[in-house]
């Protein structure tokens, strides 16, 4: 991996290509008061993130806790997508492949040789990175739409392979055996709380990675590739190599979340961990939140996941019917965002803060 050198002034951020430069606040001029208030906001946020679930648990509010876990899961997945699609500009509609590889690898290692899912996570991430390099190396020669459609094709091929692969359960998938509740087994039956904290930690890792990428030389290279690949190449950026770094990071983080999903839901099958609809959802969360910005995926997950979980519960209570209201709203929002504010919700919130 390349050397990671911090810019001298860590508070100044360059405007990424494709972003509205006026949307970035003049952070340097705000000075110390701003950084103090930012610290306070961070402390409050941390307190809420760590404390709120305890309150929910005490009140026996299981479903809100489930929603929080899903928000963390999708924030992780969307951030992983964001590193590849947002920063490096490579639109992947096949990230479910890495999710499925992570879920299947750790699960198979657990059921076949009794390996702890914690080690399984690492193996799964490693396998996903290898898969991502195998996909990326040929496909990164394709630009724009061709790459996006190629990732759909690869995703469909992988899903078909798993559906027809009897040794790993075929279309019916794998039911994870119930093990005694223990950290080493990555299974918790009496409470969802441990899953929440693990999901939160994973989201923190993903956001930490995005933060490091954004501040490092890697991030500048990614944005150069996204902005103008030919210009980047003429300036000596090894385009394919840096795209491969981006997809490898994205794959590793996505696979990590795949293991969490397998251990939390305890059933995996090609229709739940490898479908195109998952790849699409990951991408929608990131795009709606705002691609190429660090808080976009979180904002997207905070808006979309409660919406989809909420409509699911509401429709289940009101007797079902059509479903998919959530996706209808997503689709409409994505169109509006693409037409009026390609920067996503993040850019809209920035604009409001700029006025206030």
């Amino acid at each position: 991996m390349t050397t990671v050198d911090q810019p001298s002034d860590s508070t100044s951020m360059p405007a990424g290509p494709g972003l509205d430069p006026t949307a970035l606040p003049p952070e340097r001029s705000r000075g110390r008061a701003a950084s103090a208030s930012r610290l306070a906001v961070g402390a409050i946020a941390a307190l809420v993130l760590l404390g709120l679930p305890l309150v929910l648990e005490a009140q026996r509010l299981v479903h809100p806790l489930h929603i929080l876990i899903m928000i963390c899961l999708y924030a992780t997945l969307a951030q992983a997508w964001n590193i590849l699609g947002g920063y490096a500009g490579q639109i992947s509609l096949g990230n479910a492949v890495f999710f499925g590889v992570g879920a299947y690898t750790s699960t198979l290692l657990m059921t076949r040789i009794g390996l702890s899912p914690w080690l399984g996570i690492l193996v799964g991430m490693f396998v996903a990175v290898l898969v991502s390099l195998a996909i990326g190396y040929p496909c990164f020669r394709l630009g724009g739409h061709y790459f996006a459609i190629a990732t759909i094709a690869v995703g469909e091929i992988v899903q078909t392979l798993f559906i027809n692969w009897r040794e790993v359960g075929g279309a019916s998938g794998i039911h994870l055996p119930l093990l005694p509740e223990a950290f080493v087994n990555f299974q918790f039956h009496s409470s969802k709380l441990p899953y929440y904290y693990i999901a939160l930690a994973m989201a923190a890792i993903a956001f930490g990675c995005a933060f490091l990428v954004e501040r490092s030389r890697l991030g500048y290279y990614f944005r150069a590739i996204k902005g103008d690949p030919l210009a980047a190449r003429s300036l000596g950026v090894k385009i394919t190599r840096y795209k491969l770094y981006a997809i490898a990071i994205s794959a590793a983080l996505t696979a990590m979340a795949g293991t969490l999903y397998a251990q939390y839901i305890l059933v995996i099958d090609p229709e739940s961990v490898l479908p195109l609809s998952l790849s699409v959802l990951i991408c929608l969360v990131a795009v709606l939140g705002g691609i190429g910005s660090i808080w976009g995926p979180l904002l997207g997950a905070l808006v979309l996941i409660p919406l989809s979980e909420g409509t699911r519960v509401y429709l289940a209570q009101s007797g079902g019917g059509g479903r998919a209201i959530d996706l209808m709203v997503y689709g409409a929002l994505i169109v509006l965002v693409a037409v009026f504010q390609p920067g996503g919700l993040v850019a809209i919130s920035r604009r409001f803060r700029g006025r206030g």
Binding site: G89, G144, Y146, A153, R323, L327, A338
Partner: protein
């Protein structure tokens, strides 16, 4: 493998290929004009199929009669989508262009699921039924009619684009937008027309497919994917390429399905990957 079985597969592959070609050419026309891929193309097809279904169920209109109705409705839809969405993002970054049509597709698909549920539906009592016996070779009449109609529509489109003044104006705009504008061709009107005609093709294909395929909100996805592949295979923007590629895909699907039934689309996807990796401009591509 007996020869009849292989011939049977080839024949049905050819028939489906003609319909794939008609779907693909709509996509190709739009891309050739303005280098925007309509990721909602499959949903346009789904809407045409549902329109055919409801016309048949509510008014007893046969799918064949709803071909012109679907064509007209989809033309209007295409124009509206261009006016409402696409014309605003002509100079936007490519990501915004991808997500605008992609989001539209997600919206239309889930709206269909919301209003009409995810159930599979079949058009009741259509006129064209039964099978055609060609010396031991059995072909479904609906498929035969669909492929003939698709070829007719394709031929009409080809003549329109190559022989009429408006068609030449469309070609001129896709060759060089600025030069065409200097000749007095409004690129905005050509784009609008392109979206209208591209969607019209899908409307015809949808009504024809509704004759023999079940209809559900996700039905367009596979067809759109095959159409993207056909467009990439034939070369983005090439009309003849779309026809050849559509037929190739129909054949690969049918013959692949003969040998590995559960992997027939894998064969098509692998074909796509091989083509774009080896010859990125496609068989007849200009780019």
């Amino acid at each position: 493998m007996p020869t009849e079985v292989l011939l049977q597969a080839v024949a049905s592959g050819l028939l489906m290929g003609c319909v794939y070609a008609l779907i693909a050419v709509g996509l190709s026309l739009i891309f050739g004009l303005m280098e925007i891929v309509n990721f909602a193309h499959g949903e346009f097809l789904m809407l045409a199929m549902f329109t055919t279904f409801w016309l048949a169920l509510l008014f007893g209109i046969d799918p064949l009669l709803s071909v012109p109705i679907c064509a007209a409705l989809l033309f209007v839809l295409g124009v509206l989508v261009y006016k409402g969405i696409i014309s605003r993002i002509l100079s936007a970054p490519m990501l915004a262009q991808i997500f605008a049509t992609f989001g539209l597709g997600v919206f239309l698909r889930s709206a269909a699921q919301f209003f009409w549920s995810a159930d599979y539906r079949v058009v009741p009592n259509h006129v064209v039924e039964g099978r055609l016996n060609l010396g031991g070779l059995f072909l479904g009449w609906p498929q035969v009619v669909a492929s003939i109609a698709a070829l007719l529509a394709f031929g009409t489109l080809y003549l329109f684009v190559t022989r009429t003044e408006v068609g030449l104006a469309i070609q001129a705009t896709s060759e060089d937008r600025e030069a065409a504008a200097l000749m007095g061709i409004s690129s905005d009107r050509m784009f609008m027309l392109g979206w209208g005609i591209g969607s019209l093709c899908v409307g015809i294909a949808g009504a024809l497919l509704a004759n023999f395929l079940p209809i559900f909100p996700d039905v367009g996805f596979l067809f759109a994917l095959l159409a993207y592949i056909a467009v990439a295979l034939g070369g983005f923007g090439s009309i003849v390429g779309a026809l050849v590629a559509g037929v190739i895909i129909g054949l690969v699907e049918a013959i692949g399905g003969l040998f590995w039934p559960s992997f027939k689309y894998v064969a098509v996807f692998v074909l796509y990957l091989m083509v774009v990796l080896v010859r990125p401009q496609g068989l007849f591509g200009r780019y």
